[in-house]
Symmetry: C2
Subunit: 398 residues, 2 copies
């Protein structure tokens, strides 16, 4: 019997999971050996992590058990941590298990925070990255609020939250905190006016690159709810006591959450693959430069638009990559040829807490409730894509 082609997918994020679910749909039984490797037994919905990080959503709604969406006769799941990829020997090294051989590798491992060299950030800030991390942020904030009334001295830094970065994640997180803070104040007997929420952004505007009218709407909405913005103001240093801004302003804060961007997974650079800020400029078939069998999807891949500007890494991008790659890999295995990938930007929506959002969809600007509903429908769509209606009804909060 001839050996089946081995497809190894690393990471069960949007890109990796979509590729895997696509493969198990496209491929017939015994057409290929598909293995999915992921550190946790669950997928987490990265686009929703700002909600459990604020405490506005039970983290259970932001995760999906991988076993519940895989067909075990078509895909083998390995729960392990990838410590090295070796494209020369076509193998993947794991923390606990035996190395895995592959014929085709799909690299979909998550990104690392981009700190832009800000001193002390990695040591002292929190990052909205994964489920363990956001539970820690939520618990940290609650702990600081709980502590406040037990101390004799006035430690206002315990009630000061600094969010670094006013991009998508930053703004969405600030929007959730705006909803959450009054609840925390009630729960811990703290006057609302004692709490400060400061959003710091180095660029000259909130949501850089976004439509000005939408940006103005978001800023007004959040400022009316007590958010202080410091735009055009890089963070110079993050310390255990808070942040120092360019120009010298010091903000005492027990909670600094950094959302200022991501870079590619360091394992790519370590494997000798050419990267820019850790991300791999993939070819039209999503392959790493110089490789026929090494595909990169999600945050670690870099794709340029027609104006030669990089697309920001998004769930939308990763999902489309995964869908496309599953079809291409199926074609390859059957001796056919691949189709080039083209990103189709359907729209962009940023939530501003429970009841509002802004964005562009169907070529139109959207504000407020309408945008918020559309955003929610979009979340549901992801559950539908990976787990069909049963998963959608289980996880969607209507």
């Amino acid at each position: 019997m001839m050996a089946l082609p081995k497809i190894v997918v690393l990471g069960a994020g949007y890109g990796g999971l979509m590729t895997t679910v696509g493969l198990q749909k496209e491929l017939n039984y015994q057409e290929a050996e598909v293995t999915l490797v992921n550190q946790n037994p669950y997928h987490y919905v990265t686009t929703k992590l700002h909600e459990p990080a604020a405490g506005t959503l039970d983290p259970e709604y932001a995760r999906v058990e991988i076993a519940s969406v895989l067909k075990q006769d078509k895909v083998k799941f390995v729960q392990d941590r990838v410590i090295k990829v070796d494209p020369e020997n076509k193998e993947v090294h794991l923390a606990d298990g035996e190395p895995l051989k592959y014929d085709y590798l799909v690299f979909g491992l998550g990104s690392a925070p981009e700190t832009f060299g800000i001193k002390g950030l990695l040591e002292n800030a929190f990052f909205i990255r994964n489920l363990n991390g956001v539970r820690l942020i939520r618990e940290h904030i609650e702990y600081m609020f709980a502590k406040y009334n037990t101390l004799k001295e006035d430690r206002d830094d315990l009630l000061t939250i600094v969010v670094g970065g006013a991009g998508f994640t930053g703004i969405e997180y600030v929007g959730e905190l705006v909803d959450r803070i009054p609840e925390l104040c009630r729960e811990f007997d703290i006057p609302r006016e004692k709490v400060r929420l400061i959003n710091v952004e180095a660029a000259p505007t909130v949501l850089p690159g976004f439509d000005k009218e939408l940006v103005d709407y978001a800023v007004k909405y959040l400022e009316e709810r007590g958010v202080e913005f410091r735009i055009n103001t890089p963070i110079e240093e993050c310390t255990p006591e808070g942040v120092v801004l360019k120009g010298g302003e010091k903000i005492d804060s027990a909670t600094v959450v950094w959302t200022g961007g991501v870079r590619g997974n360091p394992l790519l650079e370590e494997a000798g693959i050419e990267t820019a800020r850790g991300r791999v400029k993939v070819d039209e078939y999503l392959r790493a430069p110089g490789y026929e069998d090494f595909f990169v999807v999600g945050d670690s891949s870099l794709i340029f638009n027609e104006e030669e500007r990089p697309y920001p890494p998004t769930a939308q991008m990763a999902t489309q990559q995964g869908q496309h790659l599953a079809k291409n890999l199926t074609a390859l295995i059957r001796g056919g040829s691949m189709q080039p990938f083209k990103f189709d930007l359907k729209g962009t929506l940023a939530s501003l807490g429970r009841g509002s959002a802004i964005g562009i969809a169907f070529g139109k600007k959207l504000f407020g409730t309408k945008a918020s509903i559309l955003k929610r429908i979009n979340d549901w769509r992801w559950y539908y894509l990976i787990g069909g209606l049963p998963l959608m009804f289980k996880k969607a909060k209507f």
Copy 2:
């Protein structure tokens, strides 16, 4: 017009609040000027604090807004912190407000932890004392659990909880934690067997002074649910890393909760009143020795039984003192004479988490569900006593 007699009640615990509620029931309008002083705008139900401290009860169920149980035409409420009582000049000094003059003082301010001189305890342990404190304990435990999976190293101390003292509060708290730990494990993806819950007691038995059959029942119940007991083992020292036991055993623990007893409020000693471990041996009318107008109720009072052994400070004792004192003060104001106080021990119940309890009531030993229901009814009784049926229905969890 003759000045009305001034009654000042310090503290809205069981003793103080019961005295105040009794006075507003007994006294007619314009018969006396009654003032209640309390640091917080709420009363907290001390006998339930072990539940929010474990996270098994929303702290809102353990507090009652003072304004909701006072009749404002009969009692004036002052929210302030007492910093000094001056029995010679018959006045009370407050942190923020003007000193209060009194004709009769009811001292019902809460107790302080009894540390028995254990090194590092006050600095490094948590205490089940008040609402702010128990919210901190709950949040602290959750934070430690949230942190565990975010660290590279195995920090088992984060999942190790040491409860110092196996008296009533200690056992009841351990019982709640037994219920809570599996929930925490699910919430934070932690294997149950990683979590240790250790109850340390210096006396040769759990629940010293309690019926042996009941003690055995409690120990078996808790041990079957994973509790480790170290009896006959004093804590020598509490450090930021955990505890050192007599004999040298070190337990690494991020959470040490001390329940090993209380002493009287330090303001009494500071006022020159004779105390034993901070508690005042009151006369049969609940007066401090040598004073006609200085009454002490609750944990700061010391009353002996017929065998000349002190009654432990309990809510039951404080409640009866308050009820009795309200009648005596009314009699005094009307020119009558006081009746001596006699404590009537109705029973003693200790909960072992949600579904079980042990105790003695109506002269009978009680175990398990039956004791648990009786314990709950007893909680409801307190709400009924201070706020009637409406408060009982609002706060009771059926």
